[in-house]
C-alpha cells in the first residue's frame, strides 16, 4: 500500500521537524537561563553596596513573581491576591521576631513558607473546590477581595501596627552570625531563587506540568481525560502560596519592616505587571520581567518620579495589546509554554532514524 507508506513517511518527517523545533527552543531557553544566572552571579562584584541592596530586593521579588507565574502562567488561575501570601508570611515572621525573638534563619524561612502554604490552602480550597466548579472571574475577584480585606485588617489592627506596620525587625541570624543586607544576603536570596527555579522547572516539565498547561489551554478537555482539574488547581495554588510565603519572609527581613501595602492590592498588582511584562508561562520570563520593571522604575523614578507610573501603564497596555505573551516571546516560541511529551524519546528516535538512513 504505497499511499499509507507515504503518509507514514510524512508523519515521521513532521514529527522529526517538530522534535527539532522543540530541542532548538530548549537550547535557546537554556542559553537565556545561563546568561541570566551568570549575570546575577557576577552582579555584586560590579555594583556599589547600595545597588547590591537594590539587586537583592529584585531577586526576592523575582522569587515572588515565580510564584505568580506558576499559578497564572501554568495553571491559568488569575490570582489578583498573590500578595496575601507574600504579606501574611512577612507579617508572620515579623511577629515571630518582635514578640518571640525568633530570628534564626532555619526557623523563620520555613515558618514563612508554611504560613504562605496554609493561607493559600485555605483560600484556594475555599475558592476552587466545591460542588460548583468556580469560574475564572470568581476566582480572580475572590483573590482580589481577599487581599483587599487583609489590607484593611492590617491597617486597622493595632496589634499589627496599623498604618505604620511593624518597624525595625532585627536581622536574621545563623547561629551567632547576623545576616544583614549586603552581598551575603544577595547570594542567599539568589541561591534560594535558583533552587526554587530548578524545582519549578522540574515540576512544569513533569506529567503534572503538562496537565497544568492543558488545564490552561482547555480545561474541559483535561477534565474529560479524567483529571480532577479543581484539585490540580488547588495544589498548584498552594505551591504558589508557599513560594510567595518564602519570598515574603525574605523580604520582611531584608527591608527590616513590614507595612500594609505589602499584603494588599498594590503589591498584588505589581507582581501581575512583572509577569505580564516578562512573559507568563515561561519561568524565566517572570524573572526577567521583574528585573526589567524594577530596574526601569529604579532608574526612572530618580528623575521622573511623577510620570513613571503613567509610563508603566502605557507600556503594560502596549504589551497586552501587541505582545500578550510578554517580552520573552520575542525570542521563545509559543511551543515553550505548551510543553511536550518526552522530548528526549523523540530525540532518540530521530537519532535512530539518522543512523538507519
Amino acid at each position: 500500500m504505497p499511499t499509507l507508506e507515504v503518509n507514514c513517511a510524512t508523519a515521521d518527517m513532521a514529527e522529526i521537524a517538530f522534535a527539532g523545533q522543540v530541542s532548538r527552543a530548549r537550547r535557546v531557553l537554556l542559553i537565556i537561563e545561563g546568561l541570566v544566572l551568570i549575570g546575577a552571579l557576577v552582579l555584586p562584584v560590579m555594583l556599589h553596596d547600595y545597588l547590591t541592596v537594590f539587586a537583592t530586593r529584585v531577586v526576592i521579588l523575582a522569587l515572588f513573581a515565580l510564584s505568580f507565574d506558576l499559578v497564572w502562567g501554568y495553571a491559568g488561575i488569575m490570582s489578583f491576591g498573590q500578595a496575601l501570601f507574600f504579606g501574611s508570611a512577612g507579617y508572620g515572621v515579623a511577629l515571630l521576631a518582635r514578640d518571640l525573638d525568633i530570628t534564626s534563619i532555619l526557623l523563620v524561612l520555613p515558618a514563612g513558607t508554611l504560613i504562605g502554604l496554609v493561607f493559600a490552602l485555605l483560600l484556594g480550597g475555599f475558592l476552587l473546590l466545591g460542588r460548583h466548579p468556580a469560574s475564572m472571574i470568581f476566582v480572580s475577584l475572590g483573590t482580589l477581595t481577599g487581599a483587599y480585606a487583609a489590607d484593611r485588617l492590617a491597617r486597622g489592627w493595632y496589634y499589627l501596627g496599623g498604618q505604620n506596620g511593624i518597624p525595625s525587625i532585627p536581622p536574621m541570624t545563623l547561629g551567632s552570625y547576623e545576616l544583614s543586607e549586603g552581598s551575603n544576603f544577595y547570594y542567599l536570596a539568589l541561591g534560594l531563587l535558583v533552587i526554587v527555579y530548578v524545582a519549578c522547572r522540574f515540576l512544569v516539565r513533569s506529567q503534572f506540568g503538562l496537565a497544568l498547561a492543558g488545564l490552561r489551554e482547555n480545561e474541559q478537555r483535561i477534565a474529560f481525560f479524567g483529571y480532577r482539574t479543581q484539585h490540580l488547581k488547588a495544589i498548584v495554588f498552594a505551591i504558589g502560596g508557599a513560594i510567595a510565603g518564602l519570598s515574603g519572609s525574605l523580604y520582611a527581613f531584608h527591608e527590616g519592616f513590614v507595612w500594609p501595602n505589602m499584603i494588599g492590592v498594590v503589591v498584588s498588582t505589581q507582581v501581575v505587571l512583572y509577569v505580564l511584562f516578562g512573559g507568563s508561562g515561561t519561568l524565566i520570563g517572570a524573572v526577567i520581567g521583574t528585573a526589567i520593571v524594577e530596574g526601569l522604575s529604579f532608574w526612572l523614578s530618580d528623575n521622573y518620579r511623577d510620570i513613571w507610573p503613567i509610563i508603566l501603564g502605557v507600556l503594560l497596555l502596549l504589551v497586552i495589546l501587541f505582545r500578550p505573551l510578554g517580552l520573552i516571546s520575542l525570542v521563545l516560541t509559543e511551543r515553550e509554554r505548551v510543553g511536550s511529551f518526552a522530548a528526549k524519546a523523540q530525540d532518540k528516535k530521530r537519532a535512530q532514524h539518522h543512523a538507519a538512513s
Binding site: I137, T145, A149, D306, I310, G313, L316, L317, P324
Partner: protein, 285 residues
C-alpha cells in the same frame, strides 16, 4: 427615635451612592462580560471635571452636568480604540482595563498632587423635619439615584434601543444576523456605563472630597456587588449594590468598623460561592 431615623437615612444614602457607582459597572459587566477595572477611574474623572469647573469659577452644577457627557465621550473613544480587542478574553480585559485605569489615575494624581481637594455642595444646608436634620445634598443624591435607576430601567426595558442591547447580550451572532450593529451597541453601552460612573463621581465629590484614590475605594465594593447581584441582568447588580452599600453603612453601628469592612466582603464571597449565579439569576431585564 431621632437617632434611629438618622441611622436609617445614613444607611439609605450610602446605599444610594454605592448603587450609583455600581450601576455603570453592572451594565458593562452584564451587557459585555467585561469587568472594567478602569471604572473607578471614570468615577475619579467625573469628580475631577467637577473640581476643574469649580476652580475656574464656573458654577458647580455646570461641572456636574458636563462630567457624564465628557466621561461618556472618553468611554466611547476608549472602547473603539482599545476595549474592542478584549471581548474574547475576559481575564485579558481585566488586565487591559487595569492598565488604562493606572494611566488615568496617575495622570490625575500628577495634575492634583497628593492633596485632598474640596468642592462645595451645590445645594447646601439641611432639610429639617421637626427635630431631625438631614443633609440636603445627600438627600438630592438619593433622589437623583432613584431617577437615574428608573431611567436606565425604562431605557432597557421599554425602548427599541434597549431591546437591541438585550438582544446583543443574549445572542450576539443572531443579533448581528438580524441587522443589529453589535459593534455600535457595544460602543454605546460602554460609553453609557462610563457616563454613569462620571455622574457618580461628580455627585459624590462634595461628600468625599477629591483625591487620586477616590475610585479605587469603591471599585472592589462594586465588583463584589455585581457578583453578589448576578451578572447578566440589570436588576441583579442594583440589588447587590443596595445590599453591599446598606451593610457597609449599617455594620459599623454594631461592630468595630475595621471588622465590619472585612465581614461584609467575607459574607458576600461566601454567599457567591454557594450561589454562583447571584441573587437574581439570568432572565428579565
Amino acid at each position: 427615635m431621632t437617632s434611629a431615623f438618622m441611622a436609617a437615612f445614613e444607611i439609605l444614602s450610602f446605599g444610594a451612592i454605592i448603587v450609583l457607582i455600581v450601576l455603570g459597572l453592572g451594565i458593562i459587566a452584564s451587557m459585555m462580560g467585561i469587568f472594567n477595572f478602569a471604572q473607578g477611574e471614570f468615577v475619579l474623572l467625573g469628580a475631577y471635571i467637577t473640581y476643574l469647573a469649580y476652580s475656574h469659577g464656573l458654577p458647580v452644577w455646570l461641572g456636574m452636568a458636563a462630567a457624564p457627557i465628557l466621561v461618556g465621550l472618553l468611554g466611547f473613544v476608549l472602547e473603539a480604540l482599545i476595549i474592542r480587542r478584549f471581548y474574547a478574553a475576559p481575564i485579558v480585559a481585566m488586565l487591559g482595563t487595569y492598565a488604562l485605569g493606572l494611566i488615568i489615575r496617575e495622570s490625575v494624581r500628577g495634575l492634583i498632587g497628593g492633596f485632598y481637594l474640596t468642592v462645595p455642595e451645590p445645594i447646601g444646608g439641611s432639610i429639617d423635619i421637626a427635630t431631625i436634620h438631614i443633609s440636603a445634598w445627600r438627600f438630592t443624591i438619593l433622589v437623583i439615584t432613584a431617577l437615574v435607576m428608573g431611567g436606565c430601567f425604562l431605557l432597557l426595558s421599554r425602548t427599541s434601543f434597549g431591546l437591541r442591547v438585550r438582544a446583543t447580550l443574549e445572542n450576539p451572532a443572531l443579533a448581528r444576523a438580524s441587522g443589529v450593529s453589535t459593534n455600535f451597541i457595544y460602543g454605546t453601552t460602554f460609553a453609557f456605563g462610563a457616563a454613569l460612573a462620571g455622574l457618580a463621581g461628580a455627585l459624590i465629590v462634595p461628600v468625599f472630597d477629591l483625591f487620586a484614590d477616590l475610585g479605587i475605594r469603591f471599585l472592589i465594593q462594586g465588583f463584589v456587588a455585581v457578583m453578589l447581584g448576578g451578572v447578566g441582568s440589570f436588576m441583579g447588580p442594583v440589588a447587590g449594590a443596595g445590599i453591599i452599600g446598606a451593610l457597609s453603612a449599617a455594620l459599623p453601628w454594631v461592630i468595630p468598623p475595621v471588622l465590619a469592612d472585612v465581614l461584609v466582603f467575607l459574607l458576600a464571597i461566601v454567599f457567591i460561592k454557594c450561589r454562583p449565579q447571584g441573587l437574581i439569576a439570568q432572565g428579565g431585564v
